[in-house]
Symmetry: D2
Subunit: 336 residues, 4 copies
């Protein structure tokens, strides 16, 4: 099997005005992401609002994207379902659709003891018809401790990697250090664009990077620069990515900022499933303009007309100046 | 409509060996709870593991319990679904089944801004065909701030109460103080048995009390003693309830301790949906014995044979001694 | 020795314009508190900003207050020093000044393991020349677990009580339940005015109540009403105390709101040691006006001229209406 | 003035049997650190237990170390005192002793609002006779937000850097990105050895690294390898440093593990100021053996006799094998 590495895109889900899934737009977005050169697709991630979809909707999202992908890139399908039996049912469906692996968070809502979290994954690993990637996101679900990751990596061949969205770099490095010497093929991916380059530099295998759904060209440029050993470019892009992610994280409720970014790239994203209060809605409007300027400065012309210059904003439009964006786009396209 | 008050029981869900719902046992448990004099039923609460059931299973739980109840006590049905449209679909079903109201937590998993949490409930209130009880449990889902509760109580007649499981007594009192002067019919219920009597004393309307699924006689005795103004008995029972809840909270993962307690009262609870690691499993075994002794001391003979006396345990079996349990049972039965 | 019970006042420290201690005003405030009928004095508490004073200043505060008190009420002296040897040095000084006991928080700044926290108190208890009250305030210092409190109460006669400022009512009740059966003289005091009446009702011995430095008449009325079994008055005052404490907690940084309240009662409080940014300073100004109105409504005429009525504020001035404040003052004075 | 960069050592304080400071050993340790090639000294950091010393002891520590240093390396002196006036008094003393700058944490114990934290530093910056380094350690004291750091860097020439011990790599990068473009001389130092190399790679200026008090040779090797562009060695050492820091963080209470490590390098560290319970004491014993083995594997012969091999431990002694430690020592000595 192909190893899991590179940049996987945890895409948002576009909705219609009645908050049902906009299937046509989801298909078009999938095509766009693959064309832009993303390493892999990652439906039903946190950015994909898996928790706000029904079980049937999650299956449908993967079905649509797998069809649009036509086997071009591997698919890591989020399968953090309500209980083990439903995780396994989803796993069987995603295996049938040709997905590369499923990704499963620790159990959410309740506090579950660390050992029981580990046994949750042991049972999934024993019964899944498809490879499993651990998804550690302790902000929202029970942490999978480094010790558990190490034991699972040693004991369960079905578990082929971890996606760590804890934003905790020491934890990431401890995971690398605990797992790689004995199982070098175990993918250690970061789910936090702020530290993509540092984790690559330390031996990480890539990441599931939400901004890659908005600026796939930029994120892929960072990754490809790393593969070429061009660390200065990596550092420059890494710092500039901070501007984009910071603005998107401040807009409304997660993932409203990412939805705005995708919309500025030319997609209809529709009504959010989580309603916004009036004040919170204004933060989305404000963020949208800043994102538009950032995108315009990156050379993404779709966004330029929504950019009205603001004065004095910290995450203002000038930050991307020194990045030769056209060359990014050219290079990415050439690589395809 | 009847006001929401007294002790509602957030029952556990019994499973079969294959982790499917044991419908016969759920029906029998419902009958037992109603016979024991519980004020109301509360399916699909946190104790009811709503998050580990599928949407269809949650509907089924309410259907079974409503049928077994035969209209004898009001039903507050948990409807914390994945998105507003699913909440409303559940609400319609529960209205058809004759439920008194639905209970809805703040959105879970993601962090949602307080104002947007409020607008989530505003939309539900505007469209629900049935009364709504806010369910504040900030340990597991986004907090509904006191300010939001106050505004929702004033603006939304459909919202008829709050169940506060925050374990935060100052917050509970601030809620009472913010809401009751302008809307005295708004039910303020506590979801934490440790402070049931203090909240009643301060003007609370009752609670959703998980231990009432294990010792309904004891919890109802506290409530009825309060109604009679017998505060000394309330205090005695309140302190003794601490022993029971403390042991149950320490066993395995929530709600494993409650499942053990229910089993000791004579019900099959089956395999837990969240698997237990071996060490965590031992804590359930140990807790089970302590619970058995506590129940035996309360006069619940079903549990007596599982009680082997332990020495020196803090939450040991002697703590219930001075409570004349037989008189409790007699009185509860007489009141029915 | 006299048991520790009733309402102890953790007073603020008045400063001069240069932020040195205003000793004359501290003396005058002490006299005022004793005259108002407070059960005991509590210098160097958190409200007394012990952490912002030097070691010598803390000694000086107790010296001034002990002198002004002239033995009329017991003094509980805060002695949360940098290390055990300094705690003991302070204890010797406070013993010489005739204090009733010292109060010591868990170690602060670092995270210390629970067992080591317990051994910190074991050593203090073994060597202190004066009784010790545990001070649990997990927001700011390492928690003293209920299990540790129970063991310390059983093993250390020098430790005569706990002041619990955790705001955690279940924890308070578990402490009562764990300690009182075997050591009924062990004082369990609450450090959170929001729940003073509920804790008294459950068997607590009183509290260290910061608002008693601003409205000693009101807080003492609650306590005396409880002793008389007049629970309706207790409940009314308890709910109304929420307005006062809520406003004071929102003003600037702790304890700026309490400093404003004391100032409105006629004392010079001077420059705060922790500087206020301009926006934060405005919150103090705004809170000051609300506090003034609350005090005016309580009949405290010193504050009336600073009260300008605001419309629509939740914690507005009307909340105290039904409380016959003149009768409070009259009764408190009669009791002296 | 010399820029603040490289690796500063936040040394522990050795005590006597009576817990007073062992001044002779502190002097000898200072000499040893300077000889080992450390970039700068950092007395009164968190590792230096500033919070457990008296004001006079903190002054004394700096005096002893400044004298032993004899001007060879710059000294960053911790001056996180109880209030601004005491911070400034310490600053004057440390200026007289020739220190390079003071380091000041956000106010501790109470929660202080972010703007007021900023104004605390504005006042210190305006009045200090010596340069100031912000010390961000939100685990133990109020956070200094990135926005505040940016404004302070722009407005206050006296503030010359930040030491960030938050362990939060995204925050570190946001600080770099917010400050460096406009003030390139502002030192951004990391206080977390787990991420020293990644922060250097991204443009950081160095760190205050507690393990440098135990293995200065190893940490300096990492830093010097970075300066030479030898990133592979940096990565290898970085990962291996994890073993050392992990064990030291698990031993007893902070900084007991560091004290054990220093003892194994041949210094008397004496009785800890924070007493250890018996179980916690055992964790120090166990950690001590693991540290001894790690040090032995690094070629530090003083520690070898305390190393008894353990089987199967994750942070076992074999992890340092591939690091040619003798060459490290040789190179460091050659560089002096």
């Amino acid at each position: 099997m192909s190893p899991i590495q590179g940049v996987y895109c945890p895409n948002i889900v576009p909705y219609n005005a009645d908050r049902s899934i906009n299937e046509a737009e989801l298909e078009r977005m999938t095509e766009w992401l693959v064309e832009k050169g993303i390493s892999g697709l990652y439906p039903n991630g946190s950015t994909g609002e898996f928790i706000r979809l029904s079980f049937e909707e999650r299956l449908r999202v993967v079905e649509i994207m797998a069809r649009a992908n036509r086997g071009r890139v591997p698919i890591l399908a989020g399968a953090a379902e309500a209980n083990i039996d439903l995780v396994l049912e989803a796993a069987r469906r995603y295996a049938d659709l040709g997905c590369r692996a499923i990704s499963v968070t620790g159990p959410y809502y309740y506090k579950v003891k660390p050992e029981s979290v580990e046994y949750y994954f042991r049972e999934i690993a024993a019964k899944s018809p498809i490879d499993v990637v651990l998804y550690n996101i302790p902000q929202f679900s029970n942490e999978i401790t480094v010790e558990s990751v190490q034991r699972l990596a040693l004991d369960c061949p079905r578990i082929v990697g971890i996606k760590d969205s804890s934003r905790d770099m020491p934890r990431f490095l401890n995971t690398l250090h605990a797992v790689k010497p004995q199982r070098p093929d175990f993918a250690v991916l970061v789910g936090c664009e702020e530290i993509l380059f540092p984790t690559l530099m330390m031996g990480g295998d890539g990441g599931t990077i939400a901004t890659s759904g908005v600026v796939p060209e930029v994120v892929m440029r960072l990754y490809k620069s790393f593969l070429k050993g061009d660390f200065d470019t990596c550092r420059d892009i890494q710092l500039k990515l901070l501007d984009i992610i910071n603005v998107m994280l401040q807009a409304g409720n997660f993932p409203d900022g990412f939805r705005s970014g995708v919309e500025l790239r030319g997609f209809k994203t529709g009504e959010p499933r989580q309603p916004l209060g009036p004040t919170d809605g204004k933060t989305v409007e404000q963020a949208r303009e800043v994102i538009a300027c950032l995108l315009a400065d990156c050379g993404f012309s779709e966004a330029a007309r929504y950019c009205r210059r603001h004065q004095g904003a910290r995450t203002g439009p000038k930050t991307f100046n020194r990045l030769d964006v056209e060359s990014i786009v050219r290079e990415v396209i050439r690589d395809l």
